[in-house]
């Protein structure tokens, strides 16, 4: 997926300018130069590195993948003693792992645990590929697994260190994206739905996505600033359930649907629903389930969680996603890394972690009833809890072919251009 619930964007230095008419002409001349290849010698063919034997497979729930094992990247042997002292290096999104959880683990095992953060998986991959860097634990999304395993960035896991994997949803103990859990174990699960102010929305229509198109919330409607999520929302609203489609007509129709939001409600894009909904800047916000769980902690004083609402399709054919934990090939403390994974898969530890991140573990212990009883979520927000049934019926946004990717990004760029 393009943006992950935990992805944030720091300032990026970008210099830019707008053209005057004369500059347009100069630009045109430049384009002509580029187009006709007048620059001497440019555009020659060069032998490019080609994939050696291995094809990157686009895994799908109905097309499960067994990721390849490499003879030069073995898993660690069973029964090894944990490494002593030093620093265990964790590579993760910001605010996506409870500091208390890792501190407790570090104290128990006599190791300092250090978190390095990334904002996008692209950035993470770039760093993992840099020689000389090493991390012991990394949190990839399922869609990128095929390429990072082909690129030999991960090492296989040794299941003998991971007895707590049995706590995970049965389906995720042998997931379609990594059959046999050779490289990953599940971390969190989330859905993408509609967060809203229950006190300002009179009634939620059966097709809850229509809330975003409701003119009575003019100026107070947000969709996720994420090309996959936003276009997927428009597809799901229209009843189109292949959210990994590469059909230009379907993608175009979704783009047109988003564009209609500009006139209908002057739609805005954002990724801070957990703040905007409780504070009242947004009436309706296309968001992740974790946003609305976290929103409970951003309510102004004197306002209760009853003003919040989260809609997800009753037939459960909505967007759903999971995250994973994996050990990079470069890990210096692979035994401790296995132990930390097992620690995070522990039911109690996972719930403690949930109360910090707002993104629930993909473990069987999490049920809507228990989450309400234990006060993780208010009773009116049980729709934000993901169950194995949601996962089975839900639709996941997965890796596209480069050509498909281009169709999606360009359609989104067109929407964002706001013409």
């Amino acid at each position: 997926m393009a943006f992950h619930p935990r992805e944030t964007r720091g300032p990026l230095i970008a210099s830019g300018a707008s053209p005057t008419r004369r500059q347009f002409l100069q630009l045109g001349a430049l384009a002509a130069v580029a187009g006709t290849g007048v620059l001497a010698g440019c555009g020659r063919e060069r032998p490019r590195p080609t994939p050696t034997g291995e094809q990157i497979v686009l895994s799908r729930p109905n097309r499960p993948t067994r990721l390849p094992l490499h003879s030069d990247v073995p898993a660690i042997a069973s029964g090894l003693a944990p490494e002593k002292g030093g620093t265990l290096k964790v590579f993760n999104y910001a605010e996506y792992l409870s500091p208390d959880v890792i501190k407790a683990f570090g104290d128990k095992n006599g190791v300092k645990v250090e978190i390095t953060t990334f904002t996008t998986q692209d950035e993470a991959i770039a760093k993992l590929r840099t020689s000389g860097t090493n991390f012991d634990l990394y949190f990839p999304t399922p869609d990128i697994l095929a390429k990072i395993v082909a690129g030999k960035l991960l090492q296989p896991l040794n299941p003998s260190y991971l007895p707590n994997l049995r706590n995970a949803w049965p389906k995720l103990q042998d997931p379609f994206y990594d059959q046999g859990s050779q490289y990953t174990v599940p971390y969190t699960a989330y859905t993408t739905g509609i967060g809203y102010r229950a006190d300002r929305v009179k009634s939620v229509p059966t097709n809850g996505y229509d809330l975003l198109y409701d003119a009575s919330h003019q100026g107070k409607v947000y969709i996720l600033d994420d090309y996959r999520e936003a276009l997927t929302m428009a597809m799901l609203r229209a009843g189109q359930t292949d959210v990994n489609t590469e059909d230009p007509a379907v993608i175009k129709a979704a783009g047109a649907s988003l564009a209609s939001l500009v006139n209908a409600v002057n739609v805005k894009v954002g990724i801070t629903a957990y703040q905007l909904v409780p504070e009242g800047q947004a009436d309706v916000h296309h968001c992740w389930s974790g946003d609305i769980v976290n929103a409970q902690y951003y309510l102004p004083e004197g306002t209760g969680a009853e003003v919040l609402g989260y809609w997800y399709p009753a037939h459960r054919k909505g967007a759903v996603g999971t995250d994973t934990m994996a050990i990079p090939r470069s890990a210096q403390k692979p035994v401790l890394a296995h132990m930390l994974i097992n620690h995070i898969l522990d039911n109690d530890v996972a719930l403690e972690n949930f109360s910090f991140t707002g993104y629930q573990p993909a473990l069987s212990v999490v049920t809507p009833e228990k989450m309400v009883a234990d006060e993780y979520v208010a009773e009116n927000l049980t729709s934000a809890i993901v169950t194995p049934a949601h996962y089975t019926d839900g639709l996941q946004e997965l890796q596209l072919s480069p050509a498909g990717e281009a169709l999606w990004t360009d359609e989104w760029a067109k929407f964002k251009a706001g013409q």
Binding site: S15, G16, S18, G28, L30
Partner: protein
């Protein structure tokens, strides 16, 4: 003047730090961006691989992006960016000129204090200040409370609901001190005897301003405009913070999307190149006209 042999070597040597600076911080990064824009995708990771050898540069994608900028979906974004920056510059002029003029001519002993006050907001991080404005500009925020109490507007202004005026005002707020300071420096250097001479010749205050002060401050105005406009053109976070609506998307936002949001960084690199070429054209115009202004004054 007679030049010694060592002198001939000394003067260019003095330029070396500046040359190195330019190479390290401009030429090399610029070349790297070009190498990414004209490069090829990694077969496994699909991330762009820079092509350092210009003989193998591939311009297909770049040409496509240029096309989109001229006639396609990127054109309205360029036009909007130009409009927003133009409006913001005009407002900067209307607000900044009187302030700089007052500072240079009438502030007297309080000049230092006033200059310090103008720069004081810079002690707080830009994003922090914008976040503060976000809560002030809420529908039920203090700004709307004040406007309603003063009966200026009957209903709360939807400042943050994708309002283009908010974006322009935020740009002005963010960059107006950059406008004031260089302008002040120029106005301060204008010989007051020229103004006296103008008055002695029977020209009124306003016409003196129009025919003496304004032309003499031209180079300062140019500098102020360039220093303010360049960062405004590349700004995207102001827009993201105060609007987020597709109707106010500026070119910086599209670059941000391609570099951070999607998997097609090479398009982001191409856009950066196009914009850099435009900025260079703008800079060239500035350099030529400031040279001309210098020649006219001397």
């Amino acid at each position: 003047m007679r030049e010694s042999r060592s002198g001939r070597r000394l003067w260019p040597a003095l330029a070396a730090p500046g040359t190195l600076w330019l190479l390290a911080l401009f030429a090399v990064p610029f070349y790297a961006i070009a190498a990414v824009a004209f490069g090829y995708p990694d077969p496994i990771f699909r991330s762009p691989v820079p092509e350092w050898d210009p003989r193998y540069w591939d311009f297909t994608l770049f040409t496509e992006v240029v096309q989109r900028s001229l006639t396609g979906d990127l054109r309205p974004v360029f036009v909007r960016t130009l409009l927003f920056v133009g409006l913001a510059l005009l407002l900067c002029f209307l607000i900044g000129y009187p302030v700089a003029y007052y500072l240079a001519r009438y502030a007297g002993r309080r000049r230092g204090l006033l200059l310090a006050l103008i720069l004081a907001p810079w002690w707080i991080n830009y994003i922090t200040r914008m976040l503060a404005w976000l809560s002030l500009l809420q529908d039920d925020g203090y700004v709307n409370d004040a406007l309603i109490a003063l009966r200026i507007v009957p209903d709360p202004v939807r400042w943050l609901s994708g309002n283009p005026y908010t974006v322009v005002l935020a740009l002005v707020y963010g960059y107006v001190p950059f406008f004031i300071v260089p302008l002040y420096a120029t106005l301060d250097r204008i010989d007051s005897r020229l103004l006296d001479a103008s008055r002695d010749l029977g020209v009124g205050g306003f016409r003196t301003f129009l025919h003496v002060t304004l032309p003499l401050s031209r180079s300062g105005l140019m500098t102020a405009a360039v220093v303010t406009a360049l960062p405004m053109f590349g700004d995207y976070f102001t827009n993201t913070l105060v609007s987020g609506s597709p109707t106010t998307t500026m070119i910086g936002n599209q670059i941000e999307f391609y570099l951070l949001g999607g998997s097609r960084k090479e398009i982001g690199a191409s856009l950066v190149l196009i914009l850099s070429f435009m900025l260079m054209a703008l800079m060239a115009y500035y350099l030529i006209s400031s040279q001309r202004a210098n020649r006219e004054t001397s």
